[in-house]
């Protein structure tokens, strides 16, 4: 059963071309050249109740605009959104009671006082009953391990601790859907892991999550469904499994060489593994398909032919994924 | 010599910055000017309603206030931002960056934060003064010289005030309202001294010599200053020295504790 249904969603902005210099500015004062930007361009999708859906895309692709419309903070230019029977922007006051939202870069906590006081404020705003509030706060404090942290002033908390408290703040009223916009941005590995663990846990209890991110790892570890957006258009909408099989199980091996590399020699050994030149001729990136080749064997074979100083293994970058999806 | 070079280099940068954001700069100076020439309005309204400060006509009182604006303008250009900059550094815990520079910390803060915008305030004062002087006339050359002397002394008092406020902000962390204390005290310097009772007069000449900011120079220009007024030069110099000493002491304390 789908909890969110989006049909033919469009969001376009009109901006004005602004000249620089006095004359141009004066001219634009009287006659402005309009430019229409389509941030979201005819997107439709459905999200199942109780799932975790990742919305992926490079910066400026329209992810944030989409999630803002889903939250009711923005009116769509055209098209329709139905979340639990509400039209978010139209029924905003009633609707936001039922949802939670965490915006990675926009804190809802109050800077100078402990998070627990901010929680108490939200208790009143959302009209949470005393008993329910106590139960949920106890539960979540344990889950996030913030039992002590939440009594310290927000300004002294680390970014990770603050983020955990943002999550609690957004979920105290027991929302059925929680929107996460870049929730792990700027966090260290341990904090990221904790956040992901808790999201999975809450999800098992029935909460639906929608998250936007450009961190592929977030999606890999959390999402069951993936929607990829680029230039305002939906380019992929399927399960994570299918995204993986589309892309293949690939890693990028990045090498820093001691000597400038000899492309011919590399080719002869690597065969059909794509070689991408790096930013200078002492750097190369190799794309390894793990379904075809064991990573250990691959590194072993490298050892003999190139003299490298440093090596790292990464996920495919977002841009590569987008181009790959297009070419499919 | 090195210090003078650095100072002028910094002032030049400040002007260049102001020129780069011309519209903001003009708007800013204009607002500074308007909001600071407001207080003569009260004087004008008092005289317009047929009342007066005993022994002073309107133009004479306005002369005091215009000179006050000029001194404030100059001292603000020189070091009004010291208070804000120190306050920010202490709150953010970034005062170390100042200590890293190979010059005296006080000197560095003063020169790096030349406040061009206060020129609006100074110019406003000048315009007002010219208008007032046209009506009051001025005394002899000697009077003008004593005016200049007292005017400089007044600027010294204001600079001393700024430094003391900045020094307080080392201890009273993050209190953006500290300058209000200083504004309120200096109000005593904006009106003819004779309207205040004897104790207040003595306090505002000797302890915190605010009377020297506007009142004494104006009286000098009108040729009605007593010789004793020049004794007030001593507290002015002492006041500035006290400001410098206090600020430097706070820096040393800060170094000791390390923030």
């Amino acid at each position: 059963m789908s909890i969110i249904t989006v049909e033919d969603l469009v969001k376009s902005y009109t901006t004005y071309k602004r000249g620089s210099g006095f004359k141009e500015t004066l001219k634009s004062f009287f006659k402005r050249e309009e430019i229409e930007i389509k941030a979201v361009d005819h997107i439709s999708f459905q999200i199942k109740k109780g799932s975790i859906c990742g919305i992926l895309g490079p910066n400026g692709a329209g992810k944030s605009t989409t999630i803002k419309m889903l939250c009711g903070a923005l009116y769509p230019t055209s098209g329709s959104i139905d979340v639990m029977g509400y039209s978010p922007a139209k029924d905003r006051m009633k609707y936001v009671q039922k949802i939670g939202a965490v915006f990675g870069q926009k804190s809802q906590l109050i800077w100078d006082i402990p998070p627990v006081d901010s929680f108490a404020m939200n208790k009143a705003i959302y009209g949470i009953e005393d008993a329910e509030y106590k139960r949920r706060l106890g539960e979540m404090a344990e889950l996030f391990d913030i039992g002590e942290v939440m009594y310290k002033p927000t300004r002294v908390l680390s970014l990770g601790e603050r983020m955990k408290c943002e999550f609690v703040m957004a979920m105290l009223h027991g929302p059925e859907i929680v929107f996460l916009d870049e929730p792990t941005i700027g966090l260290d590995v341990i904090a990221k892991a904790k956040i992901r663990e808790v999201v999975s846990e809450m999800n098992r209890n029935g909460t639906t999550f929608i998250l936007t991110t450009h961190d592929l790892e977030d999606v890999e570890q959390l999402a069951q469904e993936v929607i990829v957006i680029n230039h305002g258009k939906k380019v992929f909408d399927d399960s994570l499994q299918n995204l993986k099989s589309t892309l293949g199980n690939k890693k990028i091996v990045s090498l820093s060489l001691a000597k400038a590399f000899n492309e011919e020699k590399l080719r002869s050994v690597l065969g059909d593994v794509p070689v991408i030149p790096g930013s200078n001729d002492h750097e190369i990136l190799l794309e390894v398909d793990l379904d075809k080749q064991n990573i250990r064997d691959f590194l072993g074979s490298l050892n003999g032919i190139v003299d490298f100083k440093d090596i790292s293994i990464k996920e495919l970058p977002m841009e590569t994924i987008i181009t790959r999806i297009y070419s499919e | 010599m090195k210090y003078i070079k650095i100072y002028f280099a910094c002032v030049k940068t400040a002007f260049a910055q102001a020129a780069a954001y011309r519209a903001d700069f003009i708007m800013g100076s204009f607002i500074t000017l308007l909001s600071n020439i407001l207080f003569p309005l009260v004087t004008i309204l008092i005289y317009a309603n047929g009342a007066e400060f005993p022994g002073w006509n309107m133009w004479e009182v306005l002369l005091i206030q215009s000179i006050y604006s000029m001194s404030t303008g100059i001292s603000s250009m020189l070091l009004s931002s010291v208070v804000w900059v120190t306050m920010d550094h202490i709150r953010e815990g970034s005062f170390e960056t100042v200590l890293l520079k190979p010059v005296s910390p006080l000197f560095f803060i003063i020169s790096a934060n030349f406040d061009v915008q206060s020129i609006g305030l100074f110019l406003g004062g000048v315009i007002m003064m010219v208008i007032a002087v046209v009506h009051t006339g001025i005394g002899s050359v000697l009077d003008i010289l004593s005016f200049l002397l007292l005017f400089v002394a007044g600027i010294m008092v204001l600079c001393g005030m700024n430094l003391i406020m900045a020094a307080i902000s080392f201890k009273w962390v993050g209190n953006s309202r500290i300058p209000e204390i200083f504004d309120s005290i200096s109000t005593f310097g904006k009106y003819p001294l004779s309207i205040f009772p004897r104790t207040v007069q003595i306090l505002s000449v000797i302890v915190i010599p605010v009377a020297v900011i506007g009142f004494f120079p104006a009286s000098a220009l009108l040729g009605r200053v007593d010789k004793e007024a020049f004794l007030a030069l001593i507290p002015c110099v002492l006041f500035l020295c006290f400001g410098v000493w206090l600020y430097n002491k706070m820096i040393r304390l800060y170094e000791g504790v390390g923030g």
Partner: protein, 272 residues
Amino acid sequence: MKKLKHKFEECKAVAFVTYKEWSAYRTHSLVSVFVGPVYFIVQYFIWTAVYGDAGSLAGLELSETIRYFGASALIGYLTMDFADWNLQMLIRTGKFLTFTLRPMHHRFFALSQKLGHRVLGFFFEFLPCLLIFMLLFKVEILPDRMGWTFVSVALAFLMNFYVNYCLGMTAFFLVKANGIRVVYQLFAQIFSGALIPLNFFPKVLQSVMIFLPFQYTNYIPAMVWTGSESIGVLKLNVPQAVLAQAFATILMFVLSEVLYRCAMKRFTAVGA
């Protein structure tokens, strides 16, 4: 009824949190306890000198004028806010978004914040200054007509809030909204009556002021406080003046509502 109770709970919670938030800075209010009395002393000497032997100036007696300045300062402590600055900041940084995601009108949120902030002002600015005026300076500062004064100050509290909230909302429409705020404050300084009772202004200007918001935030409540029977150019008595205030406040509320709707239309369309 239940809705009203919920509103009350919301207001209480937000006010309490704001109170707590600003408590960290309560020593800053001590500046007011120094500055307020100092300005009052200056006013006292200025006006004592100016009045000289004159019985009354601009229709006010010396004692009335002195009381006026005391009342004006005290009302300032009870009604000041920076809803304008705060809202402009929220809009500029995009943080306003987080408020559209909560089931509470932001204006009500901001008003509750102001309430909490002013409770702090009541204890750390208003009360100490009142006591200094009464006990140290021996000025008869307490209002004659307590009930009317209370209503009048409450209206000034709301009026000032709605005006500032409207100024804050200009940031939805303009990039350089800060300039508008500064210019408004400049005018407010002159025409609110905090600098000098409006009686001293030329009659024409006083008449124009009736149609502008400034005097309703300070001059009129301060005159009501002193118990004057002839307030402003219209020579209103106390109940009439309070009625005029109520009218102005309602008008301002309506304006803020209209502006808020326009702003929301724009915000939800552009997402500023």
